[in-house]
């Protein structure tokens, strides 16, 4: 049943777009991009870590690919991958230093890192300074540049589906379960007593999370054909965190739900400027205070004791303080 629905959804995503208007297509592209960001962030939030700076890694991926394409004329297909790898390498460097410490050190240093990355992009002429890099080319396939919304939509869809499938499978591997075991201080100690190198697992999880952010960041920049220090800011990092929390930490589908609903809503509020962050923040606070499991927990609350779902046992207790 579930599998059928999923198949139907993917088929719809693959077949319906030629019928859609460009604007609708644009919204779907933005939603897909945000879903991958949110799902990538979920990898580390699932192990009880919070990042205020994922936009920094998205920007690293985007800038890498944009620079490769504009300065060295390297095809974006390689640029996408390079973007992911560069983001991953930077994530490894910071994670190796900070993930041994308590969660809050990590959260704060990632935030600081993202701001420094942003400052660097603004400061140096190589990166285009405050004006950024314009004229980032779309990739070409079989001799045609994918310049229309529809053509590029399929690039985004392909990258998104591959990323989401990988991130989904990852949860049910030994690696994925180990990450879940690291989510509180007590269980982390327990895992370490069983010979698990917690710091290495956490660092690797952070690298995976940032790799997919960098990858999608590169795709994002080639979609916009432009990047500047003002595209991927602190507000994006915040939005991603809000998607995950509003959707719910308890299941893989939570962050996705949050990203789809809020991105859709955000697109409607786009013209309203600051009202978008206001609405997001209010939704966030209401959900945190009134519905700790996020929107995804709503059906289960409504029909308590209903059919069992394959849900990870995280929900409320992810919260159990890493601190103490």
């Amino acid at each position: 049943m579930k599998r059928g629905l999923l198949g139907l959804l993917i088929a719809a995503l693959a077949l319906l777009p030629p019928l859609g208007k460009p604007y609708v297509l644009h919204v779907v592209i933005v939603v897909l991009i945000n879903v991958v960001y949110a799902q990538a962030l979920y990898v580390i939030m699932r192990m009880g870590y919070l990042s205020f700076g994922h936009a920094g890694y998205i920007a690293l991926g985007g800038y890498t690919s944009a620079l490769l394409a504009t300065k060295l004329a390297i095809t974006p297909w390689i640029g996408f991958l390079a973007g992911g790898i560069v983001a991953g390498v930077f994530a490894w460097a910071l994670g190796a230093v900070t993930l041994k410490l308590r969660g809050i050190y990590f959260s704060l240093s990632v935030f600081a890192f993202a701001e420094v990355v942003n400052a660097a992009f603004r400061a140096f002429e190589v990166f285009g300074g405050p004006a950024g890099i314009a004229g980032v080319p779309r990739p070409a396939l079989l001799g045609t540049r994918l310049n229309t919304h529809l053509q590029f939509y399929y690039v985004v869809l392909a990258v998104a589906l591959v990323s989401l499938f990988f991130l989904y499978r990852l949860q049910w591997t030994r690696f994925g379960f180990t990450l879940l075991a690291l989510r509180t201080r007590e269980t982390e100690r327990l895992a370490e007593s069983l010979g698990i190198n917690a710091a290495r697992y956490k660092t690797l999880a952070f690298v995976v999370s940032c790799f997919f952010c960098g990858l999608m960041g590169a795709v994002h920049v080639h979609y916009l054909r432009f990047v500047s220090p003002f595209v991927f800011t602190f507000f994006l990092s915040n939005d991603l965190m809000i998607y995950v929390m509003v959707g719910g930490l308890g299941s893989y589908w939570g962050p996705m739900l949050g990203a789809v609903l809020l991105t859709g809503l955000g697109e409607q509020l786009f013209a309203a400027g600051y009202y978008k962050s206001l609405v997001y923040a209010v939704v966030l606070l209401v959900v945190i205070l009134a519905l700790p499991g996020g929107l995804i927990s709503l059906p289960r609350i409504l029909r308590r004791g209903g059919a069992r779902e394959r849900v990870l046992p995280v929900a409320a207790d992810v919260a159990a303080a890493r601190e103490r």
């Binding site: 009880g48 919070l50 969660g103 959260s107 600081a112 660097a120 206001l278 606070l285 303080a321």
Partner: protein
């Protein structure tokens, strides 16, 4: 060469004066962290509100300077109590939810700020004019007074934490909350007090920088970034560490800014943070 030395001396002095104001913001964060074990993301917004408060009370409504400070102090204390009661208390012990809630709060205050105050930068005329010269180093009276007020507030905070019964309760909760509660300490009230005092420190810091910078609702972000770097370098929860790190970061940013440019100075401060994390992970004076 002489010119450089002079520039560095000037940068050093300005850095120390700025550092004192950073210390004020960061101390509030440290205080709240000690009790609630979260970093309050909305802290930068309180600083912004303090500065905006000066603009509206002192410039628009033409209140006397002292009255302006009193209004800001009272409002920020109330806001601290209210935020603790409305958000932090019901999320006690849920680290992730608490931090994310503070992020949400920060977003709400900031976007309301943009909507209410507009995007036009605001300027506040100097409270005090004139320049004081020490040898070749010339410092605006304005900054000297702001720094002096900062030093007094830091001293008051020390007195509160180390010389009063409430301070003892704060330190007890930080040491071991369960035991503290068993001994009859009302942890919720102490947390509310810590929030109120922390908010007041941030708002006052904002009030004193108001004439120094152009004001806009986004100004909290830079302040909170610096404060985060400071509490990491100083050691989370350590008051003396925060003071030292605040002065250090102020000097680094100012001297670095003179020699390398503002953006590079950010990078410099960040590198110092990374070095501290590698060499002394708990911060300069933090407990491991």
């Amino acid at each position: 060469m002489d010119v450089y030395l002079h520039l560095i001396a000037q940068g050093l002095a300005i850095g120390l004066l700025t550092g004192v104001l950073y210390v004020l913001i960061a101390l509030g964060l440290t205080l709240i962290y000690g009790i609630l074990h979260i970093v309050n993301f909305a802290h930068g917004e309180i600083y912004m509100l303090g500065a905006m408060g000066v603009f509206y009370c002192y410039v628009v409504f033409k209140l006397p300077f002292a009255a302006t400070l009193v209004v800001i102090l009272l409002l920020s204390l109330l806001l601290g109590l209210g935020v603790e009661r409305a958000f932090f208390r019901s999320l006690r012990g849920q680290w992730l939810q608490l931090v994310v809630a503070s992020v949400g709060l920060s977003l709400i205050i900031q976007s309301l700020g943009w909507i209410a105050f507009g995007i036009q930068e605001k300027n506040v005329p100097s409270f005090f004019t004139g320049v004081v010269a020490f040898g070749g180093v010339r410092l605006p009276t304005e900054r000297l007074i702001a720094a002096a007020v900062g030093v007094v507030l830091v001293a008051l905070l020390y007195a509160l934490v180390y010389r009063t019964k409430v301070g003892l309760a704060m330190r007890a909760i930080e040491e071991d909350e369960e035991t503290a509660r068993m001994l009859g300490i009302d942890a919720d009230r102490v947390a509310a007090l810590a929030c109120a005092v922390g908010f007041a420190l941030a708002a006052l810091a904002g009030a004193f920088v108001a004439p120094i910078y152009s004001l806009n609702p986004g100004m909290g972000l830079e302040a909170i970034l610096m404060s985060f770097l400071i509490i990491i370098v100083g050691g989370l929860g350590s008051i003396t560490g925060t003071v030292l790190a605040g002065l250090l970061v102020g000097v680094l940013q100012s001297v670095g800014g003179v020699l390398l440019g503002a953006e590079a100075a950010y990078g410099l401060v960040f590198i110092v943070m990374i070095v501290v994390l590698v060499v002394r992970p708990a911060g300069l004076l933090g407990k491991a």
